[in-house]
């Protein structure tokens, strides 16, 4: 395996053997440890010292199912801290099959834009791309496919990234070749824009087999893992049928569906935008409710949303976007939500940060809650570069400043996700303390707060939430490092499943991997990330939620965040 280092300042490309320290790392472990050791914490995230690292998971490229995940890491211009943003599609698998453990984009080219083309033999070159500046992602991918052919994985930015806006995403093509999978969080599209890189074009014809020390053991454990994923009701039946939108009803039931800029926790229009309603609508129009979005997937949580005429609108319409462009802005119209999802992918924007930004503008009275047409117009404004468009594209904090409005549901500058921290107190701990800024995947502790008719832990109380979030954050840091999709975690939910993961790690690395090694991997990642953030000037005071969550009781259960500052500070007592 090798690293491909691309220096944008002098446009040189260097291929190097993976250094010893990184040999058994992948995904988030690799991006975070590399960013921590190679990027000065105080550097300008949009300057030449920052590095943008693309790394497939440690298991990506093997026979293990659902490992087509790519970690994108850098210093975030949105949070000012370290970032790992995770995306599916085909790019991670393509890179792994070319024997590439990471593509590291260094330096900066401020006046010219390039494509990075990596060919089937592993050779790479920069191609001048000024002509494509400002182009939206669907049009760009269409043109690139005409030039380079269909057998390419494309990872690119849209106008938002070109303009270096703080909610800019990095879009990646799915198995159908559409740029609809997003590394949305942290504004990493702006880092890519600042580097002068418009797209990575990666050949899908790589033939490098994954290096596995004991391939028989690996295969046996991988088969057993896949069986567990298939047998689990959520990953084996619900996700293929309804997608992640299956969460709308349960989270709304929990009063944790932030509605109208998190003024209430239940949305009266939830039944109209639920997974059940969406599946009915998609089926009645001839779209697809079960769709494979990423390489090696056996769950197929993706969908293809079509309009009344049966024409493509977007893929995949997911829970977080249904919330951010639905409940958060008071919009119960699935068609406009789907259109907003498409526009965000096309312009290259994080749907969460953007929906929350629009929610704040509506809360400030700029437009009315529930007006999907106005929301569409606001997202279109982003691509024009107008003053309000730039504010929306720079996210919730920028919009709060623009309207002098203080109800801004962010942590470290990044919007919360689709779980209100007051009704699910464990999510308060995760949002506040993760080095990533408010991020649900960093430590998703929803299940324990809701299972068994009201939770095995009280969702409205602080007790046990710090421990729950800590364990989940450590676990997720490891999951993101091996490249297993969140939704395939059913494979490791049992002791036997975890043993399979240990076996696969040991079988691939040729080293022993057992007992606490998984936890130690997660802790190592979190320690690197926290060290970077401390260097960037973060203190315990940054591990807090905005005051609205402590002072405004959330209907219908009328709760505020109960977790004290001291408890928050104890999350990373390790």
């Amino acid at each position: 395996m090798r690293f491909l280092r691309v220096n944008m300042t002098d446009q040189t490309i260097r291929s190097e053997e993976v250094a010893e320290a990184y040999k058994t790392l992948g995904g988030r472990a690799l991006t975070s440890i590399m960013v921590q050791s190679e990027v000065p914490a105080t550097s300008d995230p949009l300057g030449p010292e920052n590095k943008l690292v693309f790394a497939p998971g440690y298991f990506t490229g093997t026979t293990l199912v659902n490992t087509g995940r790519l970690s994108v890491g850098a210093k975030s211009p949105l949070t000012g801290g370290i970032k790992e943003s995770n995306v599916g599609g085909t790019v991670a698998f393509s890179l792994a099959r070319l024997g590439i453990a990471a593509v590291v984009i260094e330096g900066q080219c401020a006046d010219t834009s390039f494509f990075l083309h990596i060919e089937a033999d592993g050779s790479a070159g920069l191609v001048e791309a000024d002509h494509y500046q400002g182009m939206r992602t669907y049009a760009l991918v269409e043109q690139l496919r005409q030039i380079y052919g269909d057998k390419k994985s494309i990872t690119c930015i849209g106008p938002a990234g070109d303009m270096q806006l703080l909610s800019a995403s990095i879009q990646s093509t799915d198995l159908d070749g559409r740029p609809c999978r997003a590394a949305g969080r942290g504004g990493l599209g702006a880092v890519m824009g600042a580097k002068g890189l418009k797209a990575l074009i990666i050949d899908q014809g790589g033939k490098t087999a994954a290096e596995i020390a004991d391939s028989e053991s690996f295969k046996t454990a991988a088969r057993s893992y896949a069986k567990a994923v298939k047998e689990d009701e959520f990953s084996g039946q619900i996700l293929p049928e309804l997608g992640t939108a299956a969460l709308v009803e349960p989270i709304n039931a929990a009063g944790a569906f932030p509605t109208r800029n998190a003024r209430v926790g239940q949305f009266e229009g939830a039944e109209k935008i639920s997974g059940e309603a969406m599946a009915e609508l998609i089926k009645s129009r001839g779209g697809r409710t079960t769709h494979k979005g990423c390489s090696q997937c056996i769950i197929d949580c993706s969908n293809v949303f079509v309009d009344k005429k049966g024409d493509y609108v977007t893929s995949s319409l997911e829970y977080e976007t249904i919330w951010s462009m639905g409940g958060m802005i008071g919009n119960d119209d699935l068609d406009s939500i789907a259109r907003l999802d498409f526009l965000c992918d096309d312009i290259g924007l994080d749907t969460m940060n953007t929906g929350v930004a629009i929610g704040i503008a509506m809360d400030a009275g700029y437009r009315s809650f529930g007006d999907g047409t106005a929301a569409i117009a606001l997202v279109e404004e982003v691509a024009t570069g107008s003053e309000i468009g730039r504010a929306i594209g720079n996210g919730p904090v920028a919009v709060g400043k623009y309207f002098n409005h203080d109800r801004v549901p962010t942590v470290k500058g990044q919007s919360i996700a689709a779980y209100d921290p007051r009704a699910l107190q464990g999510m308060a701990v995760t949002y506040a303390t993760t080095p990533m800024g408010a991020d649900h995947t960093a430590g998703w502790v929803v299940a324990q707060n809701l299972e068994a008719f009201g939770g095995t832990i009280n969702p409205h109380k602080a007790e046990g939430q710090v421990e729950l979030s800590r364990d989940s954050q450590i676990h997720m840091a490891a999951v993101d490092s091996v490249g297993i999709c969140d939704f395939a975690q059913s494979g490791l939910a049992s002791e036997e499943g975890m043993a399979n993961v240990h076996t696969m790690y040991a079988a691939k690395s040729g080293l022993s991997f057992a007992g606490d090694d998984w936890r130690e991997l997660g802790v190592k990642v979190l320690k690197a990330e926290r060290a970077f953030n401390r260097g960037a000037g973060f203190t315990a005071k940054d591990d807090r939620l905005p005051s609205m969550f402590y002072t405004e009781p959330l209907p219908p259960y009328n709760v505020v965040v109960q977790v004290s500052d001291e408890e928050m500070a104890s999350t990373f007592d390790f």
Binding site: A253, A254, T441, E451
Partner: protein
């Protein structure tokens, strides 16, 4: 007395025949609890993780009032 039971996720597939999107009208004894209703529905208890009565989270021992709208939801995982 009657209550309206809505089965979400893939639970509706447990119901033989056509499942009406508006839910099922189910007769239960006065004073019946959520646990009783789960049993009455014939769905294995471990498949039901979240229950609401008229939109509010309910526990296994909570009584179900007449004409209530009750929703059954499955365990969630992921993120």
């Amino acid at each position: 007395m009657y209550v309206r039971l809505k089965l979400l996720g893939t639970l509706s597939s447990c119901y033989p025949g056509h499942y009406p999107p508006a839910g099922l009208n189910i007769e239960i004894a006065a004073g019946a609890t959520v646990a009783d209703l789960v049993e009455r529905s014939g769905i294995a208890q471990e498949r039901v993780a979240i229950v609401t009565i008229n939109g509010v989270l309910a526990k296994a021992g909570d009584r179900v009032p007449e004409n209530a709208v009750v929703k059954f939801m499955q365990p969630v995982t992921g993120g």
